[in-house]
């Protein structure tokens, strides 16, 4: 509904709605995001195959790079910022993360229990 008389109660804006900036600034934002994303991707591929670093640190490095990648996407492409006009989006993100954490964490915990206590028949046979 593009009803312009309509004033939302807060000053909360939808992602993509906050652009008061000029087109040039917006393009710059996307370009920076793209470059950072590419850089992080390239680094991940490089790290995975390299022997320049201590080998057991590679998985940790990949996880860190992946989280950084998510951050870049959230900030530059999904326009999640910490500004006061963005409370809803930050809250929605937090709620989403909480749910994912609960469901995935809970599932891993529950399934490890179930797998430990209720293994398939052939594994029970092997234990005896």
């Amino acid at each position: 509904m593009s009803d312009q008389t309509h004033i939302p109660a807060g000053h909360d804006l939808a992602p993509g709605e906050e652009e008061q900036h000029s087109v040039g600034e917006r393009i710059l934002g996307y370009v920076v995001g793209l470059v950072l994303a590419l850089l992080l991707t390239a680094t991940s591929f490089f790290i995975a195959g390299t022997d320049l670093v201590w080998q057991p640190s590679i998985p940790v490095a990949l996880i860190v790079l992946a989280i950084a990648q998510m951050g870049v996407h959230l900030v530059f492409f999904l326009h999640i910022t910490t500004g006061p006009d963005n409370t809803n989006n930050v809250l929605a993100l937090a709620f989403g993360l909480l749910v994912v954490f609960l469901v995935v964490g809970g599932t891993v915990w529950i399934m490890s229990h179930l797998n430990g206590n209720m293994p398939p028949m052939d594994q029970i046979m092997m234990r005896q």
Binding site: M1, D3, T5, T107, M111, N117
Partner: protein, 666 residues
């Protein structure tokens, strides 16, 4: 050419579904012919089928839910009769038919009765309560409704073409896997839920956005009516939980269609993962259903007690607490599946904790009634009936949240009694309360109180007579889903339950009679003021039925109970309404997108079920093309000129002024 579909799919040897199907088909054909002959088709098409008006879509959701309630109710009647007669005998339903009936009953009641009913009420009321002109995405709203209808259609087609799942309403593998369910039953189940699940997700996104983004001037979060809060919580749960259902069913379908091994017994599949995932959706789902009902009771209790809701902020807090904690309890559905004591203990405690915010709500409603001037109109009867019933259901829920007790009661009739106790006593009573309460708003006339009260009392007593015996049968060791049994001790309770079912049926007939009588007496029951119950929130500030634009001006909200304040101010200031400056209003144009999209989705769903691949492609292309055509549309709005708005609004203002001055005189 037609995949697995041939004449053997029609159950010629089974008279019950065939006769039922034939009767329904004849009825549908008769209605269609009547519509065409009487020339109502253009009206239906322009005013309802292609409508993107949230009120119309809400009404259609509720209509769908009501029709499906009759279907699910017929299943229930058949099951109660079967269990009453099938003592040391086969009863009248063959086992494979009985299994389809309890599966269809659960699936229909949850997905195609409870869900559309609450979503319909939310659609109808929430934009009005927020003081806005429509939901955030009106056409998407229509798409959501029609996709839900597609799911319902597919489930009902399974009655005559092929079969329905025999697996229970959640289709647990390995029983629902290809090796144990080779027929099309599980495919009907899964595809109808996938398609209607998209519809539900779309409705959820729409309503969350509406509550967060479209509120009238001054409508802070903490001034929203309680129903808007529970709508927000419920739809947040839809948005976060329904993708889990979709993913889980998608994996089950991959197992069945493409030979994957997510949930098979062999090749590294894990059936327990299905239980885990489906309940990670399934438990939030019950709160998706019951939270809007809590909102309805809050509105009804406060209106009919003539008082502001007691403890508004604690109610908001309780709602949001339920919203979060509902994602921490799902394991209690499978305590018995082999998790260790620490897992069971923690999920058991979380399940008991969630009763605390619910208890807070009960006390808030009681304190709202305390000292109020209570009017026992039909919606209020449903609300009080709910409080009594739901407390018992909640208590037995806390009981089965204790893992050792659950080990005794798991999958027994006690459990069946418990969840009917909370779903009928909570969700269905709430839906009926909301139906009675908001019907005048939707159609401009009140429902007949005599028949409404009769419907309440028959349903209420019928419920108790039907489900209390099931608690006892559960205690006596009767498990659920029994096609026949040999234990004499269970028999009397099953007969009592069947008798209760008869009383419940009278309640349903009273409800239908209420509708018929009210429509015939609609002139006498006409609501001219738009405020038949002396309401408190903004939906009562506009006429009944509201004009297509809802409000000529965006109302200015200055506190909780916005409309109550407006009425109070109007009385004090003897109504010096400065004649407002009317403006043109832009409204979204109607669009057949939803209907056409759902038409192709139905074709695609049916083709997927029967492995008719060319038809799958046809349906898929059609649905996508519909979306493309819609995305490239040029005109999406039309303008209602200011004079027209003024004309409509003045009529309403006159009625309202006379009401307020009358109330002032008294």
């Amino acid at each position: 050419m037609l995949g697995k579909l041939d004449w053997s799919a029609i159950p010629f040897d089974q008279p019950i579904p065939l006769v039922a199907g034939a009767v329904v088909l004849v009825a549908i054909l008769a209605v269609l012919i009547w519509v065409v002959v009487k020339g109502h088709l253009p009206y239906l098409w322009h005013e309802w089928i292609t409508s993107v008006d949230h009120k119309r879509i809400g009404v259609m959701y509720i209509l769908l839910a009501s029709v499906m309630l009759l279907r699910g109710g017929s299943d229930a009647i058949m099951m109660r009769i079967q269990q009453a007669v099938a003592y040391q005998s086969q009863g009248y339903l063959p086992p494979e038919h009985y299994n389809q009936i309890f599966s269809a009953h659960g699936t229909i009641m949850i997905f195609f009765v409870a869900m559309p009913f609450v979503i319909g009420l939310m659609n109808l009321v929430v934009p009005l309560q927020l003081g806005v002109r429509d939901v955030a995405f009106p056409t998407l709203n229509s798409v959501g409704f029609w996709l839900t209808a597609t799911g319902a259609l597919l489930v009902n087609i399974s009655l005559v073409v092929g079969e329905f799942a025999r697996t229970g309403w959640l289709a647990f593998p390995p029983l629902s896997g290809l090796s144990y369910s080779p027929g099309v039953g599980v495919d009907y189940y899964a595809w109808s839920l996938q398609i209607s699940g998209v519809g539900t997700l779309v409705a959820g996104i729409n309503l969350v956005t509406t509550v967060l983004k479209l509120r009238t001037r001054g409508m802070n979060y903490l001034r929203m009516p309680m129903f808007c809060w529970t709508t927000l919580a419920s739809n947040l749960l839809i948005v976060s939980a329904f993708p889990i259902l979709t993913a889980t069913l998608a994996m089950l379908l991959l197992d069945r269609y493409l030979g994957f091994h997510f949930f098979t017994n062999e090749a590294g599949g894990n059936v327990m993962m299905f239980m885990n995932l489906i309940w990670a959706w399934g438990h939030p789902e019950v709160y998706i259903l019951v939270l809007p009902a809590f909102g309805i009771f809050s509105e009804v209790v406060s209106t009919f007690s003539g008082k502001a809701l007691f403890g508004y902020r604690s109610m908001v807090l309780a709602t949001m607490a339920i919203c979060v904690v509902s994602f921490m309890v799902w394991l209690h559905h499978f305590f018995t599946m082999g998790a260790g004591p620490d897992v069971n203990a923690i999920f058991g405690i979380a399940s008991m904790i969630i009763a605390i915010p619910t208890g807070v709500k009960i006390y808030n409603w009681l304190f709202t009634m305390y000292g109020g001037r209570i009017r026992f109109a039909t919606p209020m009867l449903w609300s009080v009936g709910f409080m009594v019933t739901f407390i018992i259901g909640g208590l037995t829920g806390v009981l089965v949240a204790v893992p050792p007790a659950d080990f005794m009661l798991h999958n027994s009739m006690f459990l069946v009694a418990h969840f009917h106790n909370v779903i009928i006593g909570g969700v269905l009573f709430g839906a009926f309360a909301g139906f009675e309460y908001w019907f005048p708003k939707a159609f401009g006339f009140r429902l007949d109180e005599r028949w409404g009260k009769a419907a309440f009392w028959f349903t209420f007593t019928g419920f108790w007579i039907t489900f209390m015996p099931l608690y006892i049968a559960g205690m006596l060791g009767m498990t659920r889903r029994l096609q026949h049994y040999d234990v004499a001790a269970w028999r009397p309770w099953m007969i009592v339950a069947a008798f209760g079912m008869a009383v419940l049926t009278i309640g349903v007939i009273c409800q239908i009679m209420q509708l018929v009588v009210s429509i015939r007496n609609r002139e006498a029951l006409r609501d001219r003021t738009g405020d038949p119950w002396d309401g408190r929130s903004l939906e009562w500030a506009t006429s009944s039925p509201p004009p297509v634009f809802n409000f000529a001006f965006h109302p200015d909200v200055r506190g909780e109970d916005a409309y109550w304040d407006m009425k109070a101010r109007a009385r004090q200031q003897s109504f010096e309404h400065d004649v407002p400056e009317y403006q043109d209003i832009e409204m979204p144009r109607n669009s057949p997108t939803g209907f056409v999209c759902a038409f192709f989705a139905s074709i695609m769903g049916f083709a997927l079920i029967w492995h008719i691949w060319w038809m799958v492609i046809l349906g898929g292309i059609g649905a996508f093309a519909t979306f493309v055509v819609f995305a490239w549309r040029d005109h999406d709005e039309y303008v209602i000129p200011a004079e027209e708005v003024a004309r409509i609004d003045r009529v309403n203002l006159e009625e309202r002024r006379s009401l307020v001055s009358m109330a002032g005189a008294v």
